[in-house]
C-alpha cells in the first residue's frame, strides 16, 4: 500500500478539511476525535471499529474504480471472520476496502480504524496480490501482534504460500472517499502496479516532478509503483495536490 509521501503539505492541508468526512464510513460508533491524531492507535481497536455497514462498504469498494469497471466486479466486504464475497462479478476485477493493516508494518496508522482504502484489483492482481490481503487480515482477526504478523507474512512468502505478483498486476485507487489517515487524508487518485521485487526496475520514481512513486514494504518481496491520475473515479478533477 502506498505511503503517500508525495502528498506533502498540500495533502495535509486538504486532509484537514476532508478527513472528518472521509473517516465517517468506517467505525461510525467510535470516538472520531483520536483519528485526527497521527499515531493515536498503537494497538488494535475492538474489531467493531473496523467493520462497516455492508451496503456502505460495497459502495465504498466500488468507488475505487470508474463505475463502468466496478459495476461488473466482484465485491468483498470484511466480516468478523475475514473478507467474504458480497457480490459475485463477471469481469474478474475484485473491489475491496482494505483496512489500516495493509499499510506498512511500521506505519503510525497501522491500527487506525478510520483508515479506509478502497481498491479494485485487476484479474492478475486479484489472483496474485489479493491473497496477501486475505492472509494479513486473517492474522489480524487471530489477534496476532505486528511482529507476529511480520514473521508470518515473511514465512508465507519464503515458503511460497503467498504468490508473487503476476505479470500485469495493477489496481485502481480512485475513490474520493479513500482515507489514508491523518497524515495524507484522501491523497491523490492513483493506479498501482506490482512486480516481484527481483524485477525492481527504474521507473524514475520519487524523482522531482515525476508522477510515479515506488514502495517496497518489508517483508513483502514486492515492488509497488503508484502513479497519480487526474480524476477521481466519478470523473471529477482531483485538485491541487494532483501531480
Amino acid at each position: 500500500m502506498m505511503n503517500g509521501k508525495k502528498f506533502g503539505a498540500i495533502g495535509f492541508l486538504i486532509f484537514a478539511l476532508v478527513f472528518p468526512f472521509a473517516a465517517l464510513p468506517l467505525s461510525q460508533g467510535q470516538d472520531t476525535h483520536n483519528r485526527d491524531k497521527p499515531g493515536a492507535y498503537p494497538e488494535m481497536s475492538p474489531l467493531e471499529h473496523y467493520l462497516m455497514d455492508r451496503n456502505a462498504e460495497i459502495a465504498l469498494a466500488r468507488s475505487a474504480a470508474p463505475e463502468a469497471l466496478s459495476r461488473d466486479a466482484t465485491i468483498l466486504v470484511l466480516g468478523r471472520h475475514g473478507y467474504e464475497t458480497a457480490l459475485a462479478g463477471k469481469n474478474s476485477f475484485v473491489c475491496v476496502v482494505e483496512r489500516s493493516w495493509m499499510l506498512a508494518f511500521d506505519d503510525s496508522e497501522f491500527w487506525n480504524p478510520g483508515v479506509g482504502l478502497p481498491l479494485c484489483q485487476n484479474p492478475p492482481a486479484a489472483r496474485s496480490h489479493l491473497p496477501l490481503t486475505f492472509k494479513t487480515t486473517e492474522l489480524v482477526l487471530a489477534r496476532r501482534s505486528r511482529k507476529q504478523m511480520f514473521d508470518s507474512i515473511k514465512a508465507a512468502f519464503d515458503q511460497k504460500e503467498l504468490p508473487m505478483p503476476e505479470h500485469g498486476s495493477m489496481c485502481y485507487m480512485m475513490s474520493k472517499q479513500q482515507n489514508f489517515g491523518p497524515k495524507f487524508g484522501k491523497a491523490d487518485p492513483h493506479l498501482m502496479f506490482w512486480f516481484p521485487q527481483p524485477d525492481h526496475m527504474a521507473w524514475g520514481a520519487d524523482m522531482p516532478d515525476s508522477p510515479v512513486d515506488v514502495h517496497q514494504y518489508s517483508p513483502q518481496p514486492i515492488t509497488e509503483f503508484t502513479m497519480s491520475v487526474a480524476k477521481w473515479s466519478d470523473g471529477t478533477v482531483a485538485g491541487a495536490n494532483q501531480r
Binding site: 474504480a65 521507473w203 502513479m227 487526474a230 501531480r243
Partner: protein, 237 residues
C-alpha cells in the same frame, strides 16, 4: 470508441494523441490521409540542440538530466549525449505509429519520449529498426512486415518486465488535431486483453494503444498525467 469519454472533452480531444499514439480509434474517421508517402528527409530532421532539448523535455528534468539523448541523423539515430541513469530520451517521428495511422508520414510529428532502462533495452530497438527501414526507403507495409520478421528472427529483443516511458513534453507534437499533445506515461506489456487493465472504459484513465499492432507482440497502455514534465499543470482529460 468510448463515446462517453469524449463528450466533455471537445477542447482536449483524445484525437490529439490518436494519430500518433492511438491511431486505431481515429483510423476510420479520415480515410484520406494528407500524408500518403514519405516527405523529403530534411522535413523530418531538426536542429541538433533543439532536438536534444525536445527529447529531454519528455521527462522531468530530474530524470532526463542524466539520460542518454539520441538525435535523428541522415543515417539513423545517433547518441548526442551519453547518460548515466539508464534512461534514453529521443524524439520519435510519425513512423512509430501503426501502419494504418493517418499521420504515419506526417513530417511535423515530434514524439518526445524517455524510455526507462528496461524499455531502452527492449522497446527502443524497434525505433532503431523502423527508422532504419524508413531511411532505406521502405513502404509502410514493408516496415510493418520488416518489424514482424525481425522480431521472429530474434533480431529484436523480447520485452523486459517493467518497460515504460515518459511522454510529458509540453513541446511535443503528436497529431495535427486538437491541442496536438498529451502528457502521459506508457507501459509496455506482452499482449493482454485491454479489459485486463480496464482500458478504454468510460472515465478510466487507461487507454490501450495499438502502436505495435501487426508488427510485434507488445501492448502499450497509456495513462495521462496532470502535469507536464516541467511541473506545470497539463490539460485534464
Amino acid at each position: 470508441m468510448n463515446s462517453n469519454r469524449f463528450v466533455p472533452l471537445a477542447a482536449f480531444s483524445l484525437a490529439l494523441i490518436l494519430a500518433f499514439a492511438v491511431p486505431g480509434r481515429l483510423a476510420g474517421q479520415d480515410n484520406k490521409t494528407p500524408y500518403p508517402s514519405m516527405a523529403p528527409l530534411e522535413q523530418y530532421l531538426m536542429h541538433r540542440d533543439a532536438e536534444i532539448a525536445l527529447a529531454r523535455s519528455a521527462a522531468p528534468e530530474s530524470i532526463s538530466h542524466d539520460a542518454t539523448v539520441l538525435v535523428l541523423g541522415r543515417h539513423g539515430y545517433e547518441i548526442a549525449v551519453e547518460g548515466k541513469n539508464g534512461f534514453v530520451c529521443a524524439v520519435e517521428r510519425g513512423w512509430m505509429s501503426p501502419a494504418d495511422a493517418p499521420q504515419f508520414w506526417n513530417p511535423n510529428i515530434r514524439g518526445s519520449i524517455c524510455f526507462n532502462p528496461p524499455a531502452a533495452r527492449s522497446v527502443l530497438p524497434v525505433t532503431y529498426k523502423r527508422t532504419e527501414m524508413v531511411l532505406a526507403g521502405r513502404t509502410k507495409a514493408e516496415i510493418t512486415d520488416g518489424n514482424k520478421t525481425a522480431f521472429k528472427r530474434g533480431e529484436l529483443p523480447a520485452l523486459e518486465p517493467g518497460a515504460m516511458s515518459y511522454m510529458m513534453s509540453k513541446e511535443a507534437y503528436l497529431t495535427d488535431d486538437g491541442d496536438h499533445n498529451l502528457a502521459h506515461l506508457m507501459f509496455y506489456t506482452p499482449p493482454l486483453d485491454g479489459k485486463v487493465w480496464g482500458a478504454d472504459l468510460p472515465k478510466s484513465p487507461v487507454m490501450l494503444n495499438p502502436q505495435f499492432k501487426g508488427a510485434q507482440p507488445i501492448d502499450v497502455f497509456i495513462v495521462p498525467v496532470g502535469r507536464w514534465s516541467d511541473g506545470t499543470p497539463a490539460p485534464v482529460m
